[in-house]
């Protein structure tokens, strides 16, 4: 797709399997995608679809879980992170690649001051003195919109509100000028008005910093305004990949269609009933043999139950993992 020099992150055939009492759980099952420098990509799916585990695997945080098996490759700035020893991954994680977690309450250490938590990474990664790290921290806090930054630096996480904590998380993530920012549901724990503030801030910062962002979320509204390209995941696999405009204008996978139709929209007339996706998400320890979405799919055929569709170009030149996607191309989506 892209010339090699234009690729920041190249994930190939990433698979994460966990051992459990019920057998192997295929949390991520053969995921491939690439992110260019400065690009914003949305990874969309429901809980349990493998989106967070994908991010943790990219950061090299899954391999610390003892019951996990990871295969595939995660090439970041030309190096396969999965093949590197932990000490070298550490020099990348938090520096060139940083993460913003969903829950700002549990992802900051409650017994360490913000100063401690901010300067630790800066000193380690950039090799600057503590005084310089403090100076940089104050700048960062000011940049993410925390008033009286120099004073607040000595405060502890509980002294900040949810939105302010998420700002601190963003400041920490940006502290070493990362090339790639992984944001896992960064606004899910926040109220709408605070969500609007944080999204506004992230949009500004990605512009100013030229950092690529991978935004992981279940909220279609959030990715619509934030990302250029969207990957839709279901049961550990990417089922559709396209630009944001393409996905929302004409989804090419029945799951994406179902997701878009099941959400009421403020800008559309009210409907008498919502179109829901029937059934339940599958159990990752007992996936059906064919397409994992087939049991809930309105377009399923015999083939879908027997054979697993790969992410391939449709006749319209879009990527979809569905045998019947041509049917969707013809029927306009409401």
């Amino acid at each position: 797709m892209n010339p090699p020099s234009d690729i920041l992150l190249n994930v190939t055939d990433l698979a994460v399997t966990f051992d459990s009492q019920e057998g192997a759980v295929h949390a991520v099952d053969g995921v491939s995608f690439a992110i260019s420098p400065g690009e914003t990509v949305g990874l969309v799916g429901e809980s349990g679809c493998g989106k967070s585990i994908s991010a943790l695997a990219i950061l090299g945080l899954v391999r610390m879980m003892s019951n996990s098996i990871i295969t595939g490759s995660v090439e970041f700035m030309g190096r396969d992170l999965l093949a590197l020893p932990e000490s070298e991954v550490r020099s990348v994680r938090g520096r060139d690649m940083a993460m913003i977690f969903q829950d700002p309450v549990t992802s900051l250490n409650p017994v360490l001051s913000i100063e401690r938590q901010m300067t630790e990474g800066i000193e380690n990664h950039l090799g600057v003195s503590h005084a310089d790290a403090v100076k940089r921290s104050v700048e960062l806090l000011e940049m993410v919109g925390i008033p009286k930054a120099a004073e607040r630096l000595r405060d502890y996480p509980h002294q900040f509100s949810g939105g302010m904590r998420q700002r601190v998380m963003i400041a920490i993530a940006l502290s070493c000028n990362p090339k790639l920012l992984l944001a896992d549901e960064p606004t899910t724990a926040l109220d709408v008005t605070i969500q609007a503030q944080i999204l506004h801030l992230m949009r500004q910062l990605s512009r100013d910093y030229q950092a690529a962002i991978m935004l992981i979320t279940h909220d279609l509204g959030v990715v619509a305004g934030m990302t250029e390209r969207i990957l839709v995941m279901y049961a550990g696999r990417i089922v559709e990949a396209a630009t944001a405009k393409e996905i929302f204008a004409s989804p090419h996978h029945p799951y994406t269609v179902g997701l878009l139709r099941s959400v009421p929209r403020l800008d559309r007339p009210r409907l008498a009933t919502l179109q829901s996706i029937e059934g339940l998400p599958p159990d990752l320890a007992h996936l059906p043999r064919g397409c994992a979405f087939a049991p809930r799919c309105v377009l399923r055929t015999e083939r879908c139950r027997a054979e697993r569709p790969e992410l391939t170009p449709t006749t319209a030149g879009r990527l979809s993992a569905c045998f019947e996607s041509d049917k969707l191309v013809k029927t306009a989506v409401a």
């Binding site: 609007a196 999204l199 959400v263």
Partner: protein, 373 residues
């Protein structure tokens, strides 16, 4: 202030259309200090003077951000929280005056569906016991009929009736929420408080539960108080909507009016902050980004609770006087000094504000520019 707010029925509504009447409801939680002798040093004003009516057969949406008191309101209406002040009338009966058996008999008419389907079902009870317990408590069926009734209820909410002997952990979040709904329906209530019934569920499951709630409402003539923070969902399900901020209702109107022409600055900001799942629409939108956080309900700001974040705030007025929830247009209530019958402050995004002066409320450029939204 009670006088204005107490006469709140919808236009043309006969008094007996009111199922639940809430007047001057206050729920304050004490903040104490000291270990043995606990001194009261303050109060969290979770609900701070609410008055509204819930009409028979309607769905009243109650929206607001976390901590605004919407869940406490729901619990207080069902007498699950002790009221600090005010009254809740159910079919004209003041619930606060009832106790013991009389209150229990009233409770049969009012039920609740909880947010967290994991915490709200006892993991040591089978479905049969969970759904059957209300029947036992209210002595509604003979022992041998009880199992049949439970099966009937499970069937109603789309759960296989043969699972009565199973435990909650064998079910997914969406299924558990259905079980919670079956339990609420067991006593044949008229009024159900739905406290964020879908926010803990997966996106693809939410629509199923919303559709189920709507179907049950039609079938059994239920009245819902639907508490949620998701404005799109509330618009979908509600007939009327009340917007709460820091323990007070700031705006209350019929669905189409509230979403079509929100009068209160907070409602306007809230609506503009909801992301629309469409990149083309999002590109054109300029959301109002409110600055700052919601103040603590333990020390709400004086005057209008929203004045600290309000782009239209007028010094000397909004930060001094409490605005009263007043009927601005028929059936459309707002609590804002700047909202009048002919004009209201129109909140715009920061980019727009830079170009024009919006900070001061303008007296005469009324509805003209509003047509574009």
């Amino acid at each position: 202030m009670a006088a204005t707010a107490a006469t709140l029925p919808s236009p043309g509504a006969a008094p007996d259309d009111v199922l639940v009447g809430i007047r001057d409801l206050k729920v304050h939680f004490p903040i104490t200090s000291g270990v043995v002798i606990q001194r009261r040093i303050g109060a969290v004003r979770a609900v701070d003077g609410l008055s509204f009516d819930v009409m028979r057969g309607e769905t009243l949406g109650l929206v607001g951000e976390s901590g605004c008191g919407k869940s406490t309101t729901g619990r207080a209406i069902l007498q699950l929280e002790k009221l600090t002040a005010g009254h809740v009338h159910y079919e004209g009966v003041d619930l606060a005056r009832l106790s013991g058996g009389a209150l229990r008999r009233q409770r049969r008419r009012m039920q609740m569906i909880f947010q967290d389907p994991y915490a709200s079902l006892n993991s040591r009870m089978t479905l049969g016991h969970i759904v059957g317990e209300p029947l036992l408590v209210h002595k509604l069926r003979a022992r041998d009929e009880r199992v049949d009734r439970v099966k009937e209820l499970l069937n109603l909410v789309g759960i296989n009736p043969n699972t009565v002997n199973r435990y909650p952990h064998e079910f997914s979040g969406g299924q558990r929420q259905r079980i919670g709904i079956a339990r609420a329906l067991a006593v044949e209530p008229n009024f159900i408080v739905c406290d964020e019934p879908i926010s803990a569920l997966d996106v693809s499951i939410r629509a199923q539960i919303i559709n189920l709630l709507q179907e049950l409402q039609r079938r059994f003539d239920l009245t819902y108080l639907f508490i949620a923070h998701d404005l799109s969902v509330v618009r979908h399900i509600s007939d009327r909507v009340a917007v709460m901020y820091l323990g007070r209702v700031v705006e209350l109107a019929a669905n189409a009016e509230l979403y079509g022409e929100p009068l209160h600055p907070y409602t306007q900001a809230l609506l503009s902050a909801v992301p629309i799942p469409d990149p083309v629409v999002e590109e054109r939108r300029r959301p109002v980004v409110l600055t700052g956080d919601v103040p603590s309900p333990a020390s709400p700001p004086p005057g209008c609770h929203f004045h600290t974040r309000c782009p239209a705030m007028q010094q000397g007025l909004c930060d001094v006087d409490d605005p009263v929830l007043t009927e601005i247009r028929p059936g459309h209530f707002a609590a804002c000094h700047l909202v009048t019958a002919t004009d209201y402050p129109k909140i715009r995004s920061a980019e727009d504000t830079a170009a024009s002066t919006v900070a001061a409320p303008r007296p005469d450029d009324s509805a003209a520019e509003r047509g574009t939204s």
